[in-house]
């Protein structure tokens, strides 16, 4: 086994883009994402000797996720909601309040903006599946939930996004082109 730095270079560094993408979608901010990834890198270097096997990606992403939630507790504690029913209610009566409008990033439109506004627990599983192409098992490892919960959160997240008008339009087009 090489030095921690060498192991980090071999097992963790190749996944820096994945880490940044995850942090970028979780924090929804360029600079905050960098802070979270830096924190995660420091932790990963410290613990890289404990990494078994070669699956550095989900190992590193779970560290990024932990770093993010620690960051969230320090910087935006109001975003943390412990009660799942509160989340469900918030979605079901989704009227775009001033807070939600403030979330909208100028560079994101349509589906991307809708995705950025999705509650964290759906956003994290969807980004791991659709953008990082992780398997259910890998997602379960990163998020630290059972595979069954991964599946139900994916289904719920997709259902919420499918309300987006843009997607509906695309679905109609694809039906038209098949006939």
């Amino acid at each position: 086994m090489g030095s921690p730095e060498t192991r980090f270079e071999e097992l963790v560094l190749p996944h820096l883009d994945a880490a940044y993408n995850m942090a970028r979608w979780l924090t929804r901010d360029v600079h905050d994402a960098e802070d979270v990834v830096q924190d995660a890198c420091v932790r990963a270097l410290k613990y890289v000797d404990s990494l078994q096997g070669s699956d550095g990606r989900s190992w590193f992403l779970s560290i990024v996720r932990n770093a993010f939630y620690d960051w969230l507790a320090r910087n935006r504690p109001s975003e943390i909601v412990h009660d799942d029913t509160a989340i469900e209610n918030a979605i079901d009566h989704a009227s775009p309040g001033p807070q939600q409008v403030a979330v909208r990033n100028a560079e994101l439109r349509g589906l991307a903006a809708a995705f950025a506004e999705l509650p964290l627990q759906y956003r994290e599983v969807l980004l791991l599946r659709e953008l990082e192409e992780l398997s259910y098992k890998e997602i379960a490892r990163v998020v630290d939930i059972p595979v069954g919960t991964v599946m139900s959160r994916l289904a719920r997240g997709r259902a919420l996004l499918q309300r987006s008008p843009l997607l509906r339009e695309m679905a109609l087009q694809s039906m038209g082109s098949e006939s």
Partner: protein, 288 residues
Amino acid sequence: MKCHGAETALAAYVDGDANMLQSHSMKRHLHECSECAAAHRDLLAFRAGFRAEVPRFSAPPALRARVLAMLEASRQSAPAAMPARMPARSGRSRPGWLSGSRGSLGSKGSMGAGALVSHWQWLTGGAVAGCAATLFAWMIGTTVLDWRAGQDLVAEAVTSHVRATLGNQLIQVASSNQHTVKPWLSARLDYSPPVQDLSQEGFPLTGGRVDYLDRHPVATLVYRFRDHNIDVFVRPESSHPPPAPRTVRGFNVASAKGSGMEWIGVSDVSADVLANFVQRLAGEVPTP
């Protein structure tokens, strides 16, 4: 017919998480059940829409440089101890992002809490980071012109790829035979691009077309990887360095030079798969 539990089974099938037996029975079921077939179409449309619209962000070069500086500092500080220093990002500006959506705190904190490093400090790492920053600034200065040209080229390549995909104009000569595609392209261009079929490595050649890039006609090879299309633009090598790998509107772009040609791949497959594939085509990676 009401299909109990079919929704999750269908999602697992689309996500590639079903085993062979499950996939097989799902395929048969989709032929018989119009309700599930419609749900299947919705899921595929969702995936296509999501991947086209939601970008995958790449780590900024400055972040990468800071991580490398941290590694270097850790190497030099002591073989035994404490890698926990990283230089601070300078010029923090924090846009006042409020948030409307909520998350739940699911973290078990298995990797230790933020107490480990809650603030960044300048120590030995600072000096190294300073050198790295200077070097980085110099590199930026000398390459900025090429970079600008590369930006335009990359954006153009992605636009061509999207236009071809949407308009079903992906392929003008449909053949998996390189000896058909190569002469077809040579007859329409003033150069003859190398054409390889890499189906044994999982990248079957599906055809080619002539597109426009940088105001010149360019050979475009079309490959498939699983369910993804990969466009590879091939043109004679120029004096500019090939554009750096990037993500534009969710599509990854990777390029390489080799065999006297410049190769630019555009696809929605993951960045590392694409980069390896393009380098393989350009001959940078030896044939296994």
